[in-house]
């Protein structure tokens, strides 16, 4: 009696989670995996095969975009880490009381607006008739309007901005738990600023660094709006390829194959990152 009641409550608790996993994660991915191996022979006949994957490797535009997206995402993640670390250090170790709360808020506020609005914010600043361009002209540093949008730098700026909060939060959490005496002991035993950072602070913050990097990397790799809006037509982001296949060309088979490849890429890179940093997913996300 008792055990059946507790079993029921366990199932009730698990239901939302299972629905989430099965309906939103497993089903679409299995379906996508299935579709990606389908080859359309004519309008009403299908065969199984690796045609879509062959396309990916033979069509250089596909795999170049793929590599480019991966490399740029890694670079964005790294840049986000470099920018977020001092911010997190300041919030966790130096700021006190009210200042701390305000700084945290300052990181959070941009996320009250949608990604679309945030991206348009950057476009207002960077476009040819935008704020920076007119300032440069007013200061006499530029003769005519300067276009700062629609290049890789603009895309990376937008992506770093979008990822910053997701890097700052785990870093603040880990740095917050570090005993001040550890840093002092590092100096006391003869360490310079560099060695204390490298040998004591970074190893301590590693779980936070890795979890922040995983989240930012996944967000960046899978982001669509920012590269499209800030990079323009030629931004060549891999998600755009997937979008084009599914929506524009109505080639679901090819789109599904590209989607599966993106999933494989992000999984492999996260796995490599964990291996290299010597962290386990459980430790990092727990």
């Amino acid at each position: 009696m008792r055990s059946s009641a507790s079993r029921l409550s366990l199932w009730l608790l698990l239901t939302p989670f299972l629905l989430w996993i099965v309906l939103l994660v497993l089903l679409p991915h299995l379906q996508m995996l299935r579709v990606s191996f389908q080859v359309r022979e004519s309008w009403d006949t299908l065969a199984w095969g690796l045609h879509q994957y062959q396309n990916f490797f033979t069509e250089s535009y596909y795999w170049r975009t793929f590599v480019r997206t991966g490399v740029m995402s890694l670079f964005t993640t790294f840049l986000t880490l470099i920018i977020a670390f001092p911010i997190a250090w300041y919030i966790a170790r130096l700021a006190r009381g009210r200042a701390r709360g305000i700084l945290f808020m300052a990181c959070l506020i941009p996320f009250w607006a949608s990604e679309l609005v945030r991206t348009y914010g950057w476009m207002i600043l960077l476009r040819e008739s935008g704020v920076f361009s007119s300032w440069l002209q007013a200061l006499g540093w530029a003769d005519g309007p300067v276009e700062m949008l629609y290049n890789d730098v603009a895309v990376i700026i937008g992506l770093v901005y979008n990822g910053l909060l997701f890097m700052v939060v785990p870093l603040v959490t880990t740095l917050d738990g570090m005993d001040e005496n550890l840093v002092e002991a590092g100096y006391d035993l003869g360490g310079s600023h560099g060695t204390v950072l490298r040998e004591i602070v970074v190893p301590w913050a590693m779980p936070g660094i890795v979890s922040g990097c995983i989240v930012v990397f996944m967000l960046t790799l899978g982001s669509y709006l920012t590269p499209v809006l800030m990079g323009g037509k030629d931004s060549a982001w891999f998600t755009e390829q997937i979008f084009t296949q599914f929506i524009t060309r109505f080639n679901w088979e090819q789109g599904a194959a590209l989607g599966v490849l993106l999933l494989v890429l992000s999984s492999v890179i996260v796995w490599l990152g964990l291996k290299i940093s010597g962290q386990s997913l459980r430790k990092v996300m727990g």
Partner: protein, 364 residues
């Protein structure tokens, strides 16, 4: 002495706002000695230690280590290492890496580093634990690793910030003795801060009693115990009874007090400014009090007291009594010869006036 000692400070001041946490402190620690700074929490001893380590800079005064002025030298360049209160072992490194950290900073080659790590671990009684994680060690072992991490660098001065505080009682007693032995074995000068007078007494060659940013007295433990220079030291170091009364006479360096219950008692004059007719305090240690019955050794002072309770604590068993509203503790004899003391019964406590000390009330 002076500029040649391992540590020599003159007129150190460190202010936080208008409050001087360290207020004109001078000290002189000869090479190879164990120097303790004893004081209640908030007396400024941690601030003083941080000045010595270099984590903080004095507002006034000088710090000399082996004759070198250290005021502007950052902590990583001082020949000083510190054992932190919570040890601050690097949790991401093995025991060996913790100890090797300082050697690595000094660019000691790997082979030699390994040898020195093994040797120091042996010296602190933890041979072969290089590859263990600090988290796997017991409290006492971690303590020793923290010591080894500093001692392997052969510092001129080792600072210890109440490192025994986190240990349980039994281990603390054991580590006290061990620290003393290690200090002798390495010959390093130790500066140890603590609020536990027993730690300071057992281990130190010299103890400085600190209060409100100043040293009340700097002396070897025994002198501190037998000849406290101020009422604060008399009350803080070891157990002591304080009997308040009115000063009626001073003769041959002995002061005579009339206690509140009217009895006349005597003790040695401990401070110069005693004024006949003013209030004064007589300090007498529980072990100096004798339960005298009727017979009184000549020259002893005596008073009546009402028994409140007896406190059995093995060798430290005491009787708590009361005289004119003031509590008095007396040590019970070890041979069980004490009479049965029932609550409310009257006893006579006597003492040799040479063992009691009298301070003027303005000196409290």
């Amino acid at each position: 002495m002076g500029m040649d000692s391992d540590l020599f400070c003159e007129g150190l001041v460190r202010r936080f706002g208008s409050n001087a946490a360290v207020d004109h402190i001078s000290l002189d620690v000869p090479a190879g000695t164990f120097f303790s700074i004893l004081g209640p929490s908030g007396c400024g001893k941690t601030t003083l230690l941080r000045l010595l380590a270099g984590f903080d800079r004095p507002d006034e005064g000088d710090i000399h280590i082996r004759g070198q002025r250290m005021n502007q030298v950052p902590p990583n360049k001082r020949p000083v290492n510190m054992v932190f209160q919570h040890l601050a072992l690097f949790p991401t490194m093995s025991v060996g890496d913790n100890i090797g950290y300082g050697l690595k900073r000094r660019k000691v080659p790997v082979a030699q580093r390994r040898k020195r790590i093994a040797r120091v671990l042996e010296q602190v009684g933890l041979p072969g634990l290089e590859n263990r994680d600090p988290g796997e060690l017991s409290g006492g072992q971690r303590q020793r690793v923290a010591l080894a991490r500093c001692l392997v660098l052969e510092p001129t001065l080792l600072l210890l910030d109440e490192p025994l505080g986190a240990l349980d009682l039994k281990l603390r007693e054991q580590m006290k003795v061990e620290l003393k032995h290690l200090q002798k074995q390495f010959g390093t000068t130790f500066v140890y801060i603590t609020h536990d007078q027993s730690e300071a007494m057992v281990m130190s060659d010299q103890v400085a009693v600190m209060r409100e940013g100043r040293f009340d007295q700097v002396a070897p433990p025994e002198e501190l115990y037998r000849e406290p220079a101020t009422p604060f030291v008399a009350g803080f170091v070891g157990d002591n009874n304080r009997l308040a009364g009115e000063l009626v006479a001073v003769r041959d360096n002995l002061a005579e007090l009339r206690l509140d219950d009217g009895s006349l008692v005597r003790g040695r004059v401990a401070s110069g400014e005693l004024e006949i007719g003013s209030r004064a305090g007589l300090y007498i240690r529980p072990e100096s009090l004798v339960l005298s019955g009727d017979a009184l050794t000549s020259g002893f002072s005596a008073m009546q007291a009402n028994v409140r309770t007896t406190l059995f604590d093995g060798a430290n068993s005491r009787v708590e009594a009361e005289n004119g509203g003031q509590p008095v503790f007396a040590r019970l004899p070890q041979d069980g010869s004490a009479p049965r003391l029932s609550t409310g019964s009257t006893i006579r406590l006597a003492w040799d006036p040479a063992l009691a000390r009298v301070f003027g009330a303005d000196n409290l």
